[in-house]
Amino acid sequence: MENQQESVTVFVWRGGEGGGFESYTVPLVAEQTILDLLTSIQRNIDPSLSYRFACRVGMCGSCAMQVNGKPRWTCRTLVRKAVHNNELRLEPLPNLPVVKDLVVDMETFFDKWQDAKGRFEPGDSVVREFSPIKPDDPERMLADEAIECINCGCCYAACDVVASSDDYLGPAALNRAWSLINDVRDDIHTERLRAVSGDGGCQNCHTNSQCVARCPLQLNPTKSIAGLKKKAALAILKGKL
């Protein structure tokens, strides 16, 4: 507790889209996470503060918000690492409608997962033979690279294409589609490829890699999207799309 005497000024977004910042001065506690700090504010200063969390251990992806201008998962972000000039600025994730304070409406984000067919489709026929998938199978390895997404929305909030195009599916949904396209058991590869190649599809990616920079799990949605582009291009040339 060597830093307990130090304090940090936290500017927290309050209200809806038309809200504003309120500042709170709180002690800077060693090894405290941003989520701990918010809980401290809610319990000790203002019980009306709204923010979202569930697991607190970096698994559920529900606590993401904008911390000093960058989307981060707050349960695994230490205050001392994010603080700048003893100040913190906490805002709701950009590119999503604000519900209240630090809570955003994730409906569009998850709708786009469905639009990108981000759901495993095993097909209607009865499985008569199992598909052996070895750990070193090339497609399995590609799926492995993309599969650990926790739906936190950091990439979606950081993406400049999402900011400029309402219909862009976004890095998370496209990354999910890529992991399924590399699953040999899945039965709707062409349909999914078509779903991610429409007006808001993979070809809109600017390859700025903000999603890569902001993914708390160090996934590479830009690479997944590049894979989708390549698959879609080959499908067009083969007359399948």
Partner: protein, 112 residues
């Protein structure tokens, strides 16, 4: 949008971009070799007149540039000013046709 029109445009832009990359290198190398010691406009026209191979090369070059540029402009119009729909597609086609006409007119001036 469920159709694959957007990705096809993207692919055409990629392919035309690849073509342009190759053509720019050929164009620059030809220019560097051709103007050794300097050439006048008259001398250039003397060499290019009736050269239909060169005419075909620059016609494809001009068309690729028109296609590539207009698809790119369409994307910029969508993302920056939010212009979408049929009017935007029509404007992109008109822009492409204008660039093609200007490019081919310039090529005809060199070859014919």
């Amino acid at each position: 949008m469920k159709n694959s029109f957007a990705i096809k445009l993207w692919l055409v832009q990629r392919l035309s971009g690849m073509l342009l990359g190759l053509f720019v290198i050929i164009h620059l190398m030809t220019m560097i070799i051709a103007i050794q010691g300097g050439v006048t406009a008259g001398e250039i026209l003397e060499r290019t007149s009736g050269n239909f191979l060169l005419g075909a090369f620059y016609s494809v070059f001009a068309i690729a540039a028109a296609v590539h540029g207009s698809i790119g402009l369409r994307t910029v119009a969508q993302e920056v000013i939010g212009w979408r729909g049929r009017s935007m597609n029509l404007a992109a086609v008109c822009f492409c046709a204008l660039l093609c006409a200007m490019g081919l007119f310039a090529v005809s001036g060199l070859v014919l």
